[in-house]
């Protein structure tokens, strides 16, 4: 591959991809020159595939073939669009109309009415994009998208991730060419440092410094590795980037290999992400075929190749030394630092390890310059951050915003607020290593520093929204359960500490808590933070400490009044049928998933509290208000 060939592919494909970003009239003109009257994008992310988007895609292809218009319409299977709760998602360009929760039946109508007759099926659209007067706004102008700034997610939901030429069409591999032909390794590291980019895996270490350390480390053999072991429950940005734009990560790793002097790379990716692994494999094969990976890349004399290693389900492997130990084929246990991986990493050699999202920013920083990137964000946190927005929020999905965007903007404007008229209670960031941010801090601008000041952290970027129905003691018990289970067991403060903390929380949620338990929790937490070997144990107490800080009254209610104010902790509540109100309709007994309700027709029913799992199905179904939660 030469730059001329690369540019030739780019020129041939650029307009086709551009149609998907320029909407309305100009896009209309553009679509005429591409040879395709319209383009239909179907989301092939894991979220949409889970809601059967591939059946929609098949139905679309079959319908286009049946109507004889398959040549006029380009069908593209993309990565994640971001609005996962509305899947399967189908977008038609050049109009940019956004069909939500598409079905194979709906697709037939879209082909007939929209693609053939030119009449948009407004009733099938995401209703936020339809005005009262029936006029339509494109997806890019909705609240969900207009506040976002997409850098790491730039190509997700835009290009076909299984087609390297679509990536090339959006300036793909141009940064690599620039680096290989006109920059020294020192200059590359300097640009990354000047950009202000910090590690998106969570800790926020300056990426450029990491690159420089690895470059300057003595040794002939060096490695470049990518952490794609996203183990944070509720975070899926790394997966979405790998699924939606795998070449962005590959290009960045090749750039890094040139900068630090490495010839072999590893991507350590979760085996639970089959779609991401599949697309990454395709992308690596294509990059090799196009001469962008392997020997003599772009004729520069630089050699580099990448191997995939599958994780096998161990949260601790997100910690850098544990991840490298796992690639070596051992139990993924961390080891003390220093020496840092930059000096002594994989197989004892200097190793550069970055997270997927960090890599996804690199090529654009090289192309657009350090100043461009550092102009975005806050003083100490530059650029953008991708958040996986989940929990009690209307627009569950993936959002990318400049650092410094407030929590309120993310939750209320982009996220569309809390569903069912419930009140916002807290946002949990940073997963098991993070903490909860209460409603009174909703106007906090989000960056690395402000989150740690609130006792939470950026983490990988999971952002779980909780409403009044969530019990904060239960939530911290949930995280402790997780960390106790995932502690690798190598060091005592973490192995024993997480268990003891969990036991204390279980005691409190079971109504057996005593006032001195809170002091025990604080003491234990302090020890764990200072003496655990790795970040897992050091941060494991964070969810408890932050909920204690902001929701101390909930802990006290559990301990002193033996009550769970949110009605979550099972030992502290039970369901009862009020015999006078019960008509004996049997509906509750039929709906109960564990057959805990018994009774004869037209007579009052009873709940067996031992069997009852307190799921609330009976209350939701009772038409007579005869069931109460106490």
């Amino acid at each position: 591959m030469t730059i001329e060939e690369l540019n030739k592919i780019k020129a041939a494909k650029a307009d086709i991809v551009k149609v998907r970003t320029i909407i309305a009239e100009e896009g209309e003109k553009l679509s005429k020159v591409t040879g395709y009257r319209k383009q239909v994008l179907v989301c092939g992310g894991t979220g949409c595939q889970s809601s059967h988007s591939m059946e929609v895609l098949e139905a679309l292809n079959a319908e286009l073939a049946a109507k004889g218009i398959a040549d006029e319409i380009l069908v593209v299977r993309t990565g994640c669009f971001g609005l996962c709760s509305l899947g399967p998602i189908v977008i038609v360009y050049p109009e940019g109309t956004f069909y939500a929760q598409a079905t194979p039946e709906g697709i037939k109508r879209i082909v007939d009415e929209h693609l053939i007759e030119g009449k948009i099926c407004t009733d099938l659209l995401y209703q936020e994009t339809v005005h009262d007067d029936g006029s339509i706004i494109s997806l890019s102008e909705t609240n969900f998208y207009k506040k976002q700034m997409r850098i790491a997610l730039r190509n997700c939901g835009v290009i076909d991730p299984e087609d390297i030429e679509e990536y090339i069409a959006t300036d793909g591999y141009q940064a690599l060419y620039k680096v290989l032909t006109s920059m020294t390794p020192d200059e590359v590291c300097q640009v990354v440092l000047d950009s202000g980019l910090r590690g998106r895996g969570g800790a926020g270490f300056p990426t450029g410094r990491k690159w420089m350390f690895t470059k300057d480390a003595p040794g002939e053999v060096k490695y470049v590795a990518c952490n794609a072991d996203e183990g944070d429950p509720g975070a899926f940005m790394d997966r979405s980037i790998l699924e939606g734009d795998p070449h962005a990560v590959i290009e960045a790793m090749i750039i890094a290999s040139y900068a630090v002097g490495s010839h072999q790379g590893y991507v350590y990716v979760r085996a639970e992400y089959p779609v991401a692994v599949h697309r990454l494999r395709i992308a690596l094969d294509q990059a090799r075929k196009y001469g962008l990976l392997g020997k003599n890349i772009l004729g520069s004399g630089h050699d580099f190749d990448i191997e995939i290693r599958l994780g096998a389900g161990a949260f601790v492997c997100g910690e850098e030394t544990a991840l490298l130990t796992s690639i070596e084929g051992h139990r993924g246990e961390p080891r003390p630092r220093p020496p840092f991986p930059a000096v002594k990493g994989l197989f004892g050699k200097p190793t550069l390890l970055n997270n997927v999202e960090t890599y996804a920013n690199i090529a654009q920083i090289i192309r657009n310059g350090a100043e461009w990137y550092s102009a975005i964000g806050t003083e100490k946190s530059k650029g953008t951050k991708v958040f996986a927005l989940g929990g009690k929020i209307t627009n569950v999905g993936l959002v990318e915003v400049p650092m410094g965007t407030t929590l309120r903007e993310i939750i209320e404007e982009i996220g569309g607020g809390i569903p069912d008229g419930k009140a916002f209670k807290a946002a949990q960031t940073g997963g098991p290593s993070g903490g909860c941010i209460p409603a009174e801090h909703i106007d906090t601008p989000i960056d690395y520093e402000s989150l740690s000041a609130l006792g939470s952290m950026m983490g990988s970027g999971g952002l779980i929204v909780m409403d009044e129905d969530n019990c904060m003691v239960d939530v911290s018990k949930f995280y402790l359960n997780f960390t106790a289970d995932e502690s690798c067991g190598k060091c005592t403060p973490c192995r024993v500490g997480t268990r003891k903390l969990l036991q204390l929380l279980e005691k409190i949620t079971e109504g057996k808590g005593e006032p001195e338990d809170l002091k025990k929790i604080r003491d234990l937490a302090t020890h764990m933070k200072s003496s655990s070997l790795c970040a897992l144990g050091q941060s494991a107490p964070n969810p408890v400490l932050s909920t204690l800080q902001y929701f101390g009254d909930e802990y006290l209610a559990h301990i002193n009044e033996k009550k769970c104010p949110s009605g979550v902790c099972k030992s502290l509540l039970h369901y009862e049928i009020i015999a006078d109100k019960c008509k004996g309709c049997t509906l509750c007994a039929r709906k109960c998933p564990v057959s805990a309700i018994t009774g004869t027709v037209k007579e009052a029913h009873v709940i067996d509290t031992d069997k009852c799992i307190k799921c609330g199905v009976c209350i939701g179904n009772c038409k007579f208000g005869a069931i109460v939660r106490k």
Partner: protein, 164 residues
């Protein structure tokens, strides 16, 4: 482990040949033990001690090291799985929307706990960390089928549809 849960190893010569091929492929690869175990689990469905011993002998590592790795990672299983594998997502997004109640409904329906297999070998239950389909929370998987936005009362019907 109680005695009734020990299922005798029933490997076939074909499986053994496949395993030997895997061992030969990863024998000299740095860090080859994990991918070898992953492929071995693909062949047998789980990693009984007999398979671990073959890998240890073939790759020239101690059985204790193989066992150490096999028990460290949650994806490796030392017991066979059911014909239909149910996993309930206990990621945070699912949990705050009540996936613990989905798991309890599954356990109540099948009469076994998470991590176990029904005596007839039809179903096994696992709780998984995060499927990543947070938009559909709470989520349950049966084999490769994803059931999202679940309510506890739907569980029994879904499981029944796999026994017909």
């Amino acid at each position: 482990m109680t005695e009734k849960n020990v299922i005798p190893f029933q490997g076939t010569p074909e499986q053994e040949a496949q395993l030997k091929e895997v061992i030969a492929r990863y024998h000299d690869q740095p860090g080859g033990l994990m991918p070898a175990l992953q492929e071995a689990q693909g062949i047998y469905g789980y990693l009984p001690v007999e398979v671990q011993r073959m890998i240890a002998d073939g790759m020239n590592v101690s059985l204790s090291e193989v066992f150490g790795v096999a028990t460290f990672y949650s994806q490796f299983s030392l017991t066979p799985k059911g014909k239909h594998r149910i996993s309930v997502c206990l990621g945070t997004a699912c949990y705050v929307k009540g996936s613990d109640k989905i798991l309890e409904a599954v356990e109540a329906k099948l009469g076994i706990k998470s991590g176990e297999c029904t005596p007839d070998g039809m179903f096994s239950i696992d709780s998984c960390r995060c499927v990543g389909a947070c938009g559909l929370a709470p989520v349950m998987l049966v084999d490769d089928d994803v059931y999202g936005k679940l309510k506890p009362e739907q569980v029994a019907g879904i499981i029944d549809s796999y026994t017909e």
